[in-house]
């Protein structure tokens, strides 16, 4: 899957990329994939799969999916 790291989430991945490719052998829960990558799921405010907002806890992701995650944003 393609994972777009919005806001601060690049911070948790070595090299701080905006985007990473995550190989998936079988469809998996998004929250579990992110936890495995070291991304704290509690910090996620919005998760988008293929352009649609999804429930983070229940979303299941396959290899061809495009996922974007964003933290809460405040003030500017």
């Amino acid at each position: 899957m393609k994972l777009h790291l919005g806001g601060q989430f690049s911070f948790y991945i070595p090299g701080h990329p905006h985007q990473v490719d995550v190989p998936l052998e079988k469809p998996s829960r998004l929250s579990e994939i992110l936890t495995r990558l070291g991304i704290p799921v509690a910090e996620i405010n919005l998760a988008v799969v293929n352009g649609e907002l999804v429930e983070l806890q229940s979303a299941v992701i396959s290899q061809q999916d495009e996922v974007k995650i964003y933290p809460p944003v405040s003030g500017g």
């Binding site: 905006h18 910090e43 907002l53 944003v73 405040s74």
Partner: protein
């Protein structure tokens, strides 16, 4: 007394008389600078119903207690006066270098009264002050004025705070800049300076904050810890990497990116204005405010030229971009330059143009009114032309220079529904239909629609998040969803407003302390006590914030404001037109109920919004009851 110079410089611009006042420690512990000191001075010294542009208006520039301390984000000062935009308590904060330099020059605050017979600027250096002629600076853009002042005083390290031609021309939302890159944008404080014929305040000082501090070693140790904390904090890291323009994409995804005058919550051309585009097309470097390790400021190049005015912040991208239906980042950067060269508040400027665009599209105004300019959503060239006209008060710009509320009254008909303002001040670029406490902040804020009253709702929505956990020591106990107006949500508001008002009193930037960012409430307390030698508790600190808010409220009550002014533009009680929150509106009944609950927590009368005598006494504000006829 430690931690402060405790000196206030008083300048009567009419007579040229100046005096220095020394504040006592007992006083300072209740009103430790910034919003608290400014509110006190305005309430005590400004007669009720003084016209904002009259010489009698009092203009206060006040550092916070910690402004200039060697601690990241302790950089802010407040400018206050009766606002020509709202006719109420006026206030605007800025960071940068000017506040710290003023402290190094020996002063915490400058209080201006009167009106200079000719244009002048004030030169403050190491305990001295001098009023100097500024006729040769009048009518010029801000960059050459800064250069001229530095050259004629013979020191290129002088920090120059100034207005531009927008302030000279009394545009009701003219702002103030320091170092060309940091802005007291809101509430028309620049126009008040202009009305006093005061173009600039130049400062230079050689004192060090460490010499003022009670325990300078403890303060330095905290400074080092926080500088390290910046590197370890994901939020601070993001602010450094992307800065505020990084917000665009996330807001759009959540359906809360104000688009076409707040009709919509998503912008179809968001890719053209989001961070990746900004980084590619504009970014040249990152900069900072005084001693701040976060470095959230952007430097940009336009047409290959590095701009002397820094890069547009999120608010500016939002106001001149999606809110005007514009997807041209180059034009947005140009708009930013124009605002800063003429010194206009970019939020109110963009929002007022968006308002006019909607009036134009509805046929309420036509080409005859707009000097032949096709003022439609998406027309970047029209937007740029209008900024120049507003600053110069030329043609249709003269009407828009009055702000959207006054312009709507003139235009008539349904124009008032298109003016996205509260108490006369335009909404910042945050859509409250997706975060209800932001809406409550717009409604209740004494300065009109302001987005920095409380931390925004999503930061306290998940009990397991870092942002939520860091807010626990403030008394936040139960996480709440962004679109809730529950009693517990109002409790969040009450606590967070006390906290944010404290930040504005002691000089911290919104991007420093938790829950927005990484500095823990306990660490803020450590900084206060290390600077002063006090034994302040969290409750005493939060009372400083609540006291400051109440003084601003009393100021407004005195001017005739009441509960009916704590409301929102009609559009926000109606559904968003597109995006994931399409159809979502702020529920009016729940909003009114929540306002009553919040008044209760604040100790304010539910009908009038007036603080009770009991609450005023508890906040050591018994003296202020007189000014609203309570005794």
């Amino acid at each position: 007394m430690y931690g402060t110079t405790a000196k206030v410089l008083r300048v009567n611009l009419t007579t040229g008389a100046m005096a220095i006042e020394t504040l006592s420690e007992d006083f300072y512990r209740l009103y430790p600078g910034g919003k608290a000191l400014a509110g006190y001075i305005l309430l005590k010294e400004l007669p009720a119903h003084t016209e904002p542009f009259a010489p009698e208006n009092v203009l206060v520039m006040a550092n916070g207690l910690l402004t200039g301390a060697p601690v990241s984000t302790a950089t802010r000062y407040v400018v206050s006066a009766r606002s020509p935009l709202t006719n109420g308590y006026g206030e605007s904060e800025a960071g940068g270098f000017w506040g710290p330099e003023l402290k190094m020059a020996g002063f915490e605050a400058i209080v201006f009264t009167g009106r200079a017979p000719q244009p002048v600027y004030l030169w403050v250096h190491d305990g001295q002050a001098e009023i100097r002629p500024a006729a040769h600076l009048w009518g010029q853009e801000t960059a050459p004025v800064q250069e001229t002042i530095r050259a004629e005083l013979g020191d290129d390290k002088i920090r120059v705070l100034q207005i531009g031609i927008a302030g000279e021309n009394l545009v009701r939302y003219a702002g103030i800049t320091n170092d060309l890159r940091h802005f007291n944008g809101r509430n028309g404080m620049g126009a008040v300076m202009g009305s006093k014929n005061l173009r600039a305040v130049a400062v230079r000082g050689s004192q060090r904050y460490q010499t003022l501090a009670y325990d300078s070693e403890a303060l330095m140790a905290l400074g080092r810890k926080l500088a390290k904390g910046v590197r370890e904090s994901p939020q601070a890291w993001d602010l450094q990497q992307r800065g505020t323009p990084g917000l665009v994409e996330a807001l759009n995804t959540g359906g809360i990116l104000p688009t076409r005058n707040f009709r919509q919550g998503t912008f179809e051309n968001v890719d053209d204005v989001k961070w990746e585009a900004y980084e590619k097309q504009l970014l040249t470097a990152r900069r900072s405010c005084y001693a701040c390790a976060i470095r959230c400021k952007r430097e940009v190049a336009i047409d290959g030229q590095v701009s002397v005015y820094g890069g547009p912040e999120y608010e500016t991208v939002g106001a001149f971009g999606p809110d005007c239906g514009i997807n041209d980042l180059h034009a947005i950067a140009k708009a930013n330059e124009l605002c800063n060269a003429f010194m206009l508040d970019s939020i109110s400027t963009g929002a007022t143009i968006a308002f006019a665009m909607e009036c134009f599209e509805h046929g309420l105004i036509g080409l005859d009114d707009t000097d032949g300019i096709e003022l439609r959503f998406g027309n970047a060239e029209a937007m740029l032309q209008m900024i120049v006209r507003i600053a110069r008060r030329q043609g249709f710009g003269d009407l828009l220079a009055e702000g959207s509320r006054r312009a709507a009254e003139k235009i008539g008909g349904e124009a008032k529904f298109f003016a996205m303002q509260v108490k006369g001040q335009e909404l910042a670029m945050h859509e409250p239909r997706g975060k209800y406490n932001v809406g409550m902040g717009y409604a209740i804020s004494e300065i009109g629609a302001d987005h920095l009253v409380v931390a925004h709702d999503p930061t306290l929505a998940n009990p397991d998040s870092l942002t939520f956990k860091n807010a626990r020591s403030l008394g936040i106990a139960v996480a709440q969803p962004p679109r809730s107006l529950s009693d517990e949500k109002m409790n969040h508001f009450y606590i967070l407003e006390r906290w944010n008002s404290l930040e504005k009193a002691i000089g911290y930037c919104f991007f420093g302390p938790a829950p927005r960012s990484f500095i823990l409430p306990e660490e803020v307390l450590v900084s206060i006590n290390a600077a002063t030698g006090w034994d302040m508790t969290m409750e005493e600190a939060l009372q400083i914030g609540e006291r400051a808010t109440n003084m601003a409220r009393i100021f407004n009550l005195r001017e005739g404001f009441s509960r009916k002014d704590d409301t929102l533009p009609e559009r926000l009680f109606q559904g968003l037109e597109n995006g994931p929150l399409q159809g979502n509106a702020i529920p009016r009944d729940e909003f009114e109920h929540a306002l009553t609950v919040l008044y209760g927590l604040k100790g304010w009368d539910p009908e009038t919004g007036q603080p009770t005598q009991e609450r005023l006494e508890a906040l050591s504000l018994g003296w202020a009851a007189d000014s609203i006829g309570m005794r």
